[in-house]
């Protein structure tokens, strides 16, 4: 457990009337530091919020943005929604897979980049759209696709 988590937990709890509500925000905050939620992290969060471990485990496993396994520092989500598909997202995904030498759902062996499918990202006006560490990029054209891999990363 990192020393600052205690404080983060206090802050999350202070914001909501019930401790449970603090769970999602705290998981987000810790994950943004740790990149993923290990079993130990889940236990720590349970302790911090005085929630049963299985409860935290079960909740975390429900949401697709909580990662149970390590992911890359750069997480690329390619939207596979219908509007994006109509505008070439399949091709974009293939292109990135080729470039990175990995399949969708995987992380590069050096642990730098994870390539993930996203369901419709509610940015169909930017189709085909992607997110890099949850920051929108789009429309991604053949020419700009590679910027997904190299552009500045925010987290």
């Amino acid at each position: 457990m990192k020393p600052e988590w205690e404080l983060w937990a206090q802050e999350a709890k202070a914001e909501f009337p019930k401790a449970n509500s603090a769970l999602l925000p705290l998981l987000h905050r810790i994950q943004s530091q740790e990149h993923y939620l290990s079993e130990d992290t889940i236990r720590d969060v349970a302790v911090l919020l005085k929630l049963p471990v299985p409860y935290v485990e079960s909740v975390a496993s429900f949401y697709s943005l909580y990662y149970k396994n390590p992911v890359g520092k750069r997480i690329i989500h390619v939207c596979m929604g219908l509007s994006c598909a109509l505008n070439g997202s399949d091709e974009l995904m293939h292109h990135l897979e080729g470039k990175l030498g990995i399949q969708e759902g995987q992380t590069t062996p050096d642990g730098e980049v994870s390539l993930l499918e996203a369901e419709c990202l509610a940015a169909c006006n930017l189709a085909p759209v992607a997110q890099v560490n949850l920051r929108f990029v789009g429309p991604v054209t053949e020419d700009t696709a590679d910027q997904l891999l190299t552009g500045e990363v925010k987290s």
């Binding site: 914001e15 909501f16 009337p17 019930k18 401790a19 449970n20 509500s21 603090a22 769970l23 999602l24 925000p25 998981l27 987000h28 079960s58 909740v59 429900f62 949401y63 697709s64 943005l65 909580y66 989500h77 596979m80 929604g81 219908l82 509007s83 598909a85 109509l86 505008n87 997202s89 399949d90 995904m93 293939h94 996203a118 369901e119 419709c120 990202l121 509610a122 940015a123 169909c124 006006n125 930017l126 189709a127 997110q131 949850l134 920051r135 929108f136």
Partner: protein, 430 residues
């Protein structure tokens, strides 16, 4: 093209997300008016009189929803649904990213009207920027005295909290949203009790869509008659339509209800890309049945679209051109529902899984004629039998596509290939 700007009117103003700029553009005037000139009950009556219907998908009359709150002295909550994840819909994201104060102003008015002292915005997990914008705007509003104790000396107090989900479409369903807001798995709740009676933390709760609430400032400024001067008797007012797919100018367009679909596509969104023809339109987000090119003159209002066999839904209008394979479209959407089923109930969990497999197999040229009956029967076994509306939502496009484009489905299973030459990402290795 006649663009009516109310909700989107300031969208292009630089820095409209800053409170000074928002204020300089009449921002928070409606709030002042509401607090000064109206009793809460009168505001509820105004919303009723305007005929405003919820913009989150179901189109439920907002004023009526507000009046369901029991008058029993328990604390009440307003929860704004900003989980926008219905494929094809992207209006709420634009509203919160570009003009967050409009929502906040609408929320303060709505909370005042409904007697909520605490309000939440449930943002979709992927809306990292949107939630940051909201948090910043909320902080600004506190600073200027629009939030907190005794707002503008009215005696009314309100706190707003911004909450971010973590990736689950089902959390857009209001009861699953409340579960998620309480830090649980986003499984829908058994109803009754409805949120109005037992919602967030078991207290009376109003859940409204972002766009619904954004209607409040212009409504207070201009009054219900103005609102009713647009649209139809049962669908008055304005609606933001998110247009995407094969159009030249994808984007959000605010239209008076009952504007014809054709006008939306051709005038607002600049027509179909590459000079091709419309084959099908999903008018209200991926959960509604498709419409065909023969139906383009349908007015975009709740009743007319229903009469045409579809629904206005959330206003996510996906335009599909004549070179697109409808089996591929169906498969892609089914996969979405398979991924997003919460897994609680059998027909939704297993049915979307199976149907996706069959459609992807057909798209990959490995279908058999028997598959067509199978899909229809599966759809029948899902329809009306799920715990929440997600299961039914999964069926809208596929069932209607099979009805309107039977030949295309037939061809896939008789010729074992896609006549449009399409191949889906996931089926490439099928």
């Amino acid at each position: 093209m006649t663009q009516t700007f109310y909700l989107l009117r300031n969208q292009a103003v630089p820095d409209i997300d800053r409170i000074e700029v928002y204020e300089a553009n009449q921002g928070y005037q409606a709030l002042r008016k509401a607090l000064k000139e109206y009793e809460p009950k009168a505001l509820v009556e105004m919303v009723k009189a305007s005929g405003l219907r919820g913009r989150g998908g179901a189109g439920f009359p907002t004023g009526m929803k507000w009046s369901f709150l029991p008058d029993d002295g328990r604390p009440r909550y307003l929860v704004v649904n900003s989980d926008e994840a219905e494929p094809g819909t992207f209006k709420d994201r634009e509203l919160i990213e570009k003009n967050p104060h409009l929502l906040i102003e609408g929320m303060i008015i709505s909370s005042y009207a409904t007697g909520a002292r605490e309000a939440y915005i449930y943002c979709r997990g992927e809306f990292l920027f949107g939630s940051e914008q909201l948090k910043r705007a909320v902080a600004e509003a506190y600073q200027r005295g629009y939030l907190g104790e005794n707002i503008l000396d009215s005696g009314f107090s309100l706190d707003i909290k911004v909450y971010r989900g973590a990736g689950a479409y089902i959390c857009g369903e209001e009861s699953a949203l409340l579960e998620s807001l309480e830090g649980k798995r986003g499984n829908p709740r058994l109803k009754p009790p409805f949120p109005a009676v037992a919602g967030l933390y078991g207290m009376p709760t109003v859940v409204n869509n972002v766009e619904t609430i954004c209607n409040l400032p212009p409504l207070v400024e201009n009054g219900p008659e103005w609102y009713r001067s647009m649209g139809t008797e049962k669908s008055p007012g304005l609606k933001i339509m998110s247009v995407s797919g094969h159009v030249n100018r994808p984007g959000n367009y605010e239209i008076p209800l009952a504007t014809p679909l054709r006008a939306l596509i051709e005038e607002y969104a600049g027509g179909v890309k590459g000079g091709r023809q419309v084959k099908a339109v999903i008018p209200g987000g991926s959960s509604v049945p498709v419409m065909t090119k023969d139906q383009l003159d349908t007015p975009l209002d709740y009743e007319s679209i229903l009469a045409a066999g579809s629904m206005l839904g959330s206003g996510g209008c996906i335009v599909i051109d004549d070179q697109t394979c409808m089996v591929a479209v169906s498969a892609r959407l089914l996969k979405f529902y398979r991924e997003e089923s919460c897994g609680k109930c059998t027909p939704c969990r297993e049915g979307t899984f199976w149907m996706t497999d069959v459609l992807e197999r057909m798209e990959a040229g490995e279908g058999t004629p028997h598959d067509l009956d199978l899909i229809r029967d599966m759809a029948d076994n899902i329809a009306g039998k799920c715990f929440c509306p997600l299961g039914d939502a999964a069926l809208g496009v596929v069932v209607s596509a099979m009805k309107y484009f039977p030949d295309e489905f037939e061809a896939h299973v008789t010729e074992h290939t896609c006549p449009m030459g399409a191949r889906l990402y996931d089926t490439v290795n099928h």
